[in-house]
């Protein structure tokens, strides 16, 4: 796990990196010293259990376990880790919040803590401490951490970036030496790629990650919105119709079958050489690197930020992973200590590196982590926290936004129009009706 040394990090030159990455006994000393000086002293005999989403990059989970382990060594607090596929974290956390029993900490998705804000431990002190020490939080992280309230109810640990993955050689052949940066160019790109027999595609099935990422990007890129800032439903607009038309034009240049894709189909198809561009986290690239037979794909692929639409600014939608502690925990100080410990440079830098770009930090200082520059192909993922919008778009990040995403309202609207099942007006009407119900 020692991808970089103390020296390279010092060269990086930021306060964040200065503490460096220690290993072995030195790390333990550091961790003990940290525990001594920390303002959060775990309760005597404290034990914690944490439920997290199931990893996609094995080395990320290894680093996570090592991190938990070092916390135990430093503080004596034992930690039990449980993993659930990421759609199942929310129901479990909700039931735990309702019954007042279950894991002390949940590491889930998007707006999870906002489903039951009064059941989450106030962690304002931890967030302030980390923000001050590490160059401040990115604005979207503040939204996810505080919602519309004044208290931080969760620590926005990181994002998982969802960007465009493309094959360099084929794109060049189609006349694109770099990936398009506007939606018009993007459509031309999709057409050119299809014309030369190297098409791409993005999921239109019920793919919670990849599917939602691209349809929300598309909706927002053309100025469409699910709700306004007062959570009033405004999906029924000419902008939404423009977004739908663009998506349909794009869809016509996809490989066949994208309407059936869930989150893993595009990974398989890209690695199998069937598609030459798609949207995904960094997991395709990591998988290609780890598989000796796919080395050539790893070398020939790259990542790009989402093209900007008529609204003229980035409208990306990345996965947020907030960490929350529950009010029913018997060891609130231990929870806070763990949260702070996880995001300290000595721990977080190693973890970020091990995740190979799958996770992106929300604290500005970690821009200097070498993982973003060691391999140029991971660099685009560095900035996703600064480019993303939040789950509710213009509106709040609470329960309603979560429901709308989970029920695939927007995704189904796009799929219904692209596949020709509904005309634009019909597709918007169905979505509008469902959204009004959710946002009543």
């Amino acid at each position: 796990m020692t991808y970089f040394t103390r020296r390279t990090l010092v060269k990086g030159g930021t306060a964040a990196a200065a503490a460096g990455a220690l290993t072995g006994p030195a790390l333990l000393d550091w961790a003990r010293a940290w525990a001594q000086s920390s303002q959060w002293k775990p309760e005597k005999g404290a034990q914690l259990s944490i439920l997290r989403w199931k990893y996609f990059v094995q080395s990320e989970d290894d680093a996570f376990v090592a991190l938990m382990d070092s916390f135990t060594k430093a503080t004596g607090v034992k930690i039990t880790i449980a993993r659930e596929s990421y759609e199942d974290v929310q129901p479990k956390a909700s039931v735990a919040a309702n019954t007042g029993a279950g894991p002390d900490l949940f590491w889930g998705l998007y707006s999870l803590p906002h489903l039951f804000p009064q059941k989450c431990l106030d962690v304002t002190d931890v967030a302030d401490y980390l923000g001050k020490k590490y160059g401040g939080w990115v604005p979207t992280a503040v939204t996810y951490g505080k919602g519309t309230g004044n208290k931080w109810i969760a620590i926005p640990v990181c994002y998982a970036g969802n960007l465009l993955n493309y094959r360099v050689e084929a794109s060049k052949k189609a006349g694109f030496s770099k990936f398009p940066t506007t939606t018009d160019e993007f459509l031309a790109y999709a057409k050119a790629m299809k014309a030369q027999g190297t098409p791409g595609g993005m999921a239109l099935g019920h793919a919670s990650g990849d599917g939602n990422a691209w349809v929300y990007w598309c909706l927002w890129a053309f100025g469409g919105n699910v709700v306004d800032k007062n959570d009033k439903v405004i999906i029924n607009s000419p902008e939404t119709e423009k977004a739908l038309n663009f998506a349909k034009a794009l869809y016509e240049n996809y490989v066949p079958g994208t309407a059936s894709w869930n989150d893993s189909f595009n990974n398989k198809a890209f690695l199998g050489g069937e598609i030459h561009w798609t949207n995904n986290g960094i997991s395709i690239y990591v998988a290609a690197q780890n598989d000796a037979t796919k080395k050539q794909i790893a070398e020939d692929m790259d990542h790009a930020l989402w093209p900007v639409g008529p609204v003229g600014k980035p409208t990306e939608f990345h996965l947020m992973f907030p960490l929350m502690a529950m009010t029913y925990t018997k060891y609130p100080q231990a929870c806070k200590a763990l949260m702070a410990y996880m995001l300290e440079a000595d721990q977080f830098n190693k973890w970020l590196t091990a995740s190979k770009g799958y996770l992106t930090h929300c604290l500005n200082a970690y821009d200097a982590n070498p993982v973003w520059t060691a391999d140029r192909k991971t660099t685009p993922f560095r900035d996703v926290a600064k480019r993303t919008l939040t789950a509710g778009g213009l509106g709040s990040v609470g329960e309603k936004a979560a429901s709308a995403i989970a029920d695939f309202v927007v995704l189904d609207m796009f799929a219904a129009y692209c596949t020709g099942r509904e005309d634009a007006k019909g597709a918007i009407k169905i979505a509008d009706r469902q959204l009004r119900r959710i946002y009543r």
Binding site: A97, F116, G257, S260, A415, Q434
Partner: protein, 318 residues
């Protein structure tokens, strides 16, 4: 001595019998006591969850938060919800087509296996295989078979030169419907076949012998001996088969998650998606509750339509 003993025991026996004493020893009540554990079990694990589900459908409960009573608001909403009606249509299509074919193929297989074939035992075991494989595993196998890019079927046909591009099994609404129905049939046939086979074995060979001597054709033997004697089993098998198909969840969830554009969304999957994934417990419960009339209908048809009353009442089946 004897006198005294008699007197004292007589006194004790004269104690007024309480209501509890009567209940304890009354033979009519005895059966109640014996049924109590089973009843408690059924109430706790079947009636209570069912009742709770129905109650939830009249509230606006969300996951992690109990709701308030909203009357039939959830149902009103669903009555005007095109996705809900699509799921009803899909469920009925799925159940009717899959159950009919499962019955036809199952009966055919059962009749075939009832003949004197070589390797009879092995053949019967082989037929059971689809039923033994866990649903999720077989669903994942079908997932690969139906993959839009890597399908073995598309690959074979393409290499044989019969088609020029991959078949879009799960991406086109009707293809997707037939694909999941096929997977369900594949899985369900063994259950029907083996149960009907068990029924066939109980038919006395002497009946066939007598019929053969009377000069009955193969069709007549089936129509007038096999079929009437098999009806009770058919009723049971088809009831179960219809119930299993109607409430199928795993296969759809793994293969399509209800997609494309809800073309394979069944009531069970829609209920799960709305209730658990999107957190709208009340609405999800209403969708589940809406399944009950259909299921009751299916049960009533098979019990009162297919079965002969005498057999039901335990009398001899003439």
């Amino acid at each position: 001595m004897a006198d005294i003993a008699l007197k004292s025991s007589g006194k004790a026996a004269l104690r007024e019998a309480t209501a509890w004493d009567r209940l304890k020893t009354n033979r009519n009540w005895l059966s109640i006591w014996f049924m109590l554990p089973a009843a408690a079990f059924l109430i706790l694990f079947l009636a209570y969850p069912l009742g709770l589900g129905v109650w939830l459908s009249f509230t606006d409960a969300k996951i992690g938060r109990s709701g308030i009573f909203v009357g039939v608001e959830n149902y009103e909403w669903l009555s005007d919800d095109s996705i809900f009606w699509l799921s009803v249509f899909n469920t009925l299509l799925y159940t009717i087509v899959a159950s009919t074919i499962k019955f036809a193929v199952g009966l055919y297989l059962a009749l075939l296996l009832n003949e004197n074939l070589p390797f009879k035992a092995i053949l019967r075991a082989v037929v059971l295989i689809p039923f033994i494989v866990p649903t999720v595993l077989s669903a994942i196998a079908f997932w690969w078979i139906y993959d839009s890019q890597f399908s073995i079927v598309s690959w074979t046909l393409r290499n044989l030169g019969l088609i020029s591009s991959n078949i879009d099994f799960l991406g086109d609404p009707w293809n997707a419907r037939w694909s999941v129905i096929f997977a369900n049939i594949w899985r369900g046939v063994p259950f029907v076949a083996i149960t009907l086979l068990a029924g066939l074995q109980t038919v006395s060979p002497s009946l066939y012998e007598a019929a053969t001597i009377d000069g009955a054709t193969a069709w007549q033997r089936f129509r007038y001996i096999t079929y009437p004697l098999l009806t009770p089993i058919i009723a049971v098998v088809m009831t179960f088969s219809v119930l299993f198909t109607f409430t199928d969840f795993q296969l759809i969830w793994v293969l399509t998650r209800g997609g494309p554009v809800n073309a394979t969304q069944l009531m069970a999957t829609l209920s799960y998606q709305r209730a658990i994934i999107a957190g709208q417990l009340g609405e999800g419960a209403a969708i589940s509750t809406a399944m009950i009339p259909f299921l009751l209908g299916a049960i009533l048809i098979s019990w009162f339509g297919l079965q002969r009353r005498k057999w039901q009442q335990g009398e001899s089946n003439d």
